[in-house]
Symmetry: D3
Subunit: 237 residues, 6 copies
């Protein structure tokens, strides 16, 4: 029995509110239940040094938790003077995921930064960030297309992410904090429309699992991501 009473393959409510802030080219408040992340897409007419003059754009991600997004207050990384290993790991994952569905040549020599700031955390902040980042990227790219700054759509497919895990022996979809902190295994899947895999990060904590277990988690993730794709479609119509 899940703490929330959800069925094993039941996601939390997905809420996507576009236009949450006004300055960014794309702005989204995404909620997976009580997890809420503000994602903005910022377009800058420059690329990192290693891409200058090569006719290719760049998509990158940054991630942060507000200090009191969590049950107990965490120190501000700016005050500590460095980003934790966890933060950097998530940032790299966000950028890699969004780039895997973007044609960087079609984007032209510009950079889009996806800032994911967790307003409230209840498990799954990285998967909500990636799923929301796609919406913010879509909105920003729509703006470039509408202005005629780019001719062809550089976004090749939708991408979404979800966590799955083995909780009290049962594979379950979309772990919340109560489950996440007690799961026997925990996996984040980043999936692309059409059944393709962009990333798998699966970790056994305490217990371990086998090939069969990995497949079960992957299939739950496909159920969840299909629901996110639908919500992304609705939010960007």
């Amino acid at each position: 029995m899940r703490p929330s009473g959800r069925a094993p393959d039941e996601m939390r409510a997905i809420a996507i509110e576009t236009g949450f802030t006004k300055h960014a080219e794309g702005s989204v408040l995404i909620g997976f239940g009580d997890t809420k992340v503000l994602v903005t897409a910022s377009i800058e007419e420059r690329v990192p040094p290693f891409l200058r003059g090569k006719g290719s754009g760049w998509v990158t991600g940054e991630y942060s938790m507000l200090p009191r997004a969590t049950h107990t207050r965490g120190s501000r990384e700016a005050a500590k003077g460095k980003q934790s290993g966890r933060t950097q790991e998530i940032q790299r994952l966000i950028g890699r995921s969004l780039r895997s569905v973007t044609n960087l040549e079609k984007l032209g020599e510009r950079q889009i930064t996806l800032d994911c700031d967790v307003i409230q955390a209840d498990g799954g902040t990285r998967t909500a960030s990636i799923s929301g980042a796609w919406v913010a990227l879509r909105l920003a790219v729509n703006k470039l297309l509408a202005e005629g700054a780019i001719k062809e759509d550089p976004i090749e497919a939708k991408i979404a992410a979800i966590s799955c895990g083995i909780f009290e022996g049962t594979p379950v979809l979309d772990l919340d904090y109560a489950e996440d902190s007690n799961a026997d295994a925990d996996a984040n899947f980043v999936l692309i429309e059409g059944g393709r895999i962009a990333e798998v990060q699966a970790t056994a904590e305490g217990a371990t699992y086998d090939e069969e277990g990995l497949l079960r988690l992957l299939r739950l993730a496909q159920i969840g991501c299909n629901q996110i794709f639908t919500a992304q479609e609705a939010a960007t119509q």
Copy 2:
């Protein structure tokens, strides 16, 4: 004529939404027009080293802008590895202001941290932060009183802050970004209920002003803070 069409002594709409996030002991989304700041109050049962064992509590503030709160994206301070001088100056001001209306002995040996994270900026982020921080502090202290953790209310009065300036020769109240970036003089006032002054930070930019000019700005600030006190009262009833 002000860019917004406001009268010289007219504030922007004040919006205070309590309970915006669920984990913090106090949580407020405060808006001064398009400026929006999320303020949380976090209670921790410990004090800084210099206060240990002295029977006194502590109130402190932290401040940050989300990278795309502004017209163009700013670098994340956590990524740069240090907080700017401006950030530190504002943090010190927030803490000092809230401590000036708190009886730290009555608070007991605990610390309340007021995290002010600017979601969207349009001028006046530090004054909205201080004004919202009082509400978050009030909510957190109410919780301590309700739980019986403290006996007497340590909050002695309301406190609020507002910016004033001289724009195209006219003293005006509550500068927005369009005014702030072109003002001849810019002053932040932190005022306490009953006509008392906690802080004045007045700077001439380009032009200068005299005693008479300072007084006019102070009187505008009193008009503005009285409206904020009313909104704070309404939000915490």
Copy 3:
């Protein structure tokens, strides 16, 4: 055809030299072909603050590349003043992997640090590090058992890691640098004796793959890890 001429399921030569340095409680030079990593295990009679007084030990990993382990010289992280996101990600993976086969209560209140320093890099440095770290940990724990400092063996199973990927359309085992920099998909598997999975980190680069593709990579990894388990056994007899 692989650049090295290896068959798709053929690993590079595994070389494990124990006792490479004399001060550490466990010291191993592990080679996967031209990739060479010096791993030392250091026992310290203290645990991190969050474990003090709880009767549990800790196993952690650190990772670094010598500046000229690679084709072109990389800057020294100590000179830059911080560890990269990649370094931190690998360190966290090493620690998590080794802890997944260690009973921390049986270890007692002491910490074992596994330092993995890459002497020469040719792809697969993190998987060689994890595989070598198990040997260094085994040697250090043997020393504790021999001295009577602990009664029961805290190591529950062997653990090993290997990378697999899709190179020119073919799933291949144990990517070297020439393959790694051109692979369509790249996955690191951390496996435990007996067919169990500790970690999967699979990334599509450029291309994507599906459930079938993931399974093929996993099966290659099982072939590779079984050979590493045999080499670990031989090195610690």
Copy 4:
């Protein structure tokens, strides 16, 4: 009664010794009683990036305390690896103040840095720094004029700073350390010749004050700054 026996509107002795060191384009040892600050003005033929090619110069300030300028030794900021919020706040104030009386276009594309190093502290180090910085700036600009590097004098007026406060209920001028650490309110005024205000930074500590109190402090500051203007004039004749 003031600890020093001074009258409420009585400043400490002002001592300005020019040419204290030989390399700088302007060099001043300024004393407000026992507070002694060495200020040097350094001319560099370059401007910060945001001003390049715009035909405008820049004036900036830096501030530091020698470790044993104070009663008890303070840690060296260079050893701690960062400047405190207080230091940055003072540095920003010094630069802003001096720029408010300098025509940056007339200065041409060059930067003048005012380094204020506190040799001995007894209250009022920031106000002595600003007052001495004007003298150092004057000497450096005189040198540029004498060499024909600039044609018109970019300095438009004298500027000086002084602290005032409410000590045991009485408004007093030029707080020394004994007063500063016990004052009910503390204000720093930066004033320009002719009765104009450049900056006001007034803080209530413990107590608060009202409009009347603020005016009294401002009037004391005018008395003090007039004496500093006279000393600045004498030192630069």
Copy 5:
């Protein structure tokens, strides 16, 4: 011919002014010609962690150049966020030198920090620092003896330092900046009263030298240090 016209074995004027600042337990402004260093000795009733409870004291040194002590302005180390290798090397030398003539047991569990801040530089700042540090240490220890805080004098001998070098083929004593920047070889000697050596740091720059050359420099250093011992004696009578 030396740029200054001095004879090869002629030192610059040595000036030692005690009591230059008032808070420190020992305070000295030492000049070797135009090189001027302010040295303060600060007594703290605590020792570094590695000495706690061992009945031994500690003597340490810190060193810094004011930004415009030199011909062209140098960046402030506090602003850059770290001390240079040169600064750390000099600090370690100052501490080691002073400890070599101090009986740390007789000092008791307290630390004396010798802060050497270069006000004006013209070559030989580290040797002036060490020579002045002995005077500041002597004054601080005299205070401890006068107060009865310690019974026996922990200072066992005088110590002084001087630079020598080979300038245009001739060994010369006490290099100034004009010589230092063109010397063929440069050596710093730290000598103890009675002909003993505490430290030699000799470097060939461009040229090299042999055993004979090293001895000549050492003999010049003995001449110079004898004069410094006399000046130290006079200053502390």
Copy 6:
């Protein structure tokens, strides 16, 4: 009697293994007894900013200890975020020493970095580093000569380093850790073929010594360096 049973003027076994790693232009594992340092020489076709366009090359050194090179584990400098003063001092010494035997104009506008990573420490790591760095530099320069990238050999002579000290009253050559930690005086000599001195760094620890003592240590160093020159010659034939 020395702990190792060696005669006072007896060095430990010198072992030089070239080609230890494959990517670097020069790669050497040098051993002085149980002290083992991996030195690589990396050629980069760029020079530091201060040399750009001046027709001169640069030779520099970096130094690090692996965390468990020593008896007890030391913290990784990359994790602490800065290099210690000791590390920087040694790095500066390595670079200065190698540059003293290199004609930088003949090297052309390129930089050679000598990375010295201590694999195992038993005293004398800096002297082994310098002695090994010459071999790595020689190999890298041979490569440039063979490729025709430079015409004339920029290396003017061999250079080697050795430590000497006074142990239980006797001057001894090539201190190992057991001696180094108990020596009365400790000196590092960097000598050039033909009896010339590049650097002397001699420190009295506890005891002091005189002119006679310094000469005795220098003569031992000459004996040691002559043996190192022979080993360098053999390794680079």
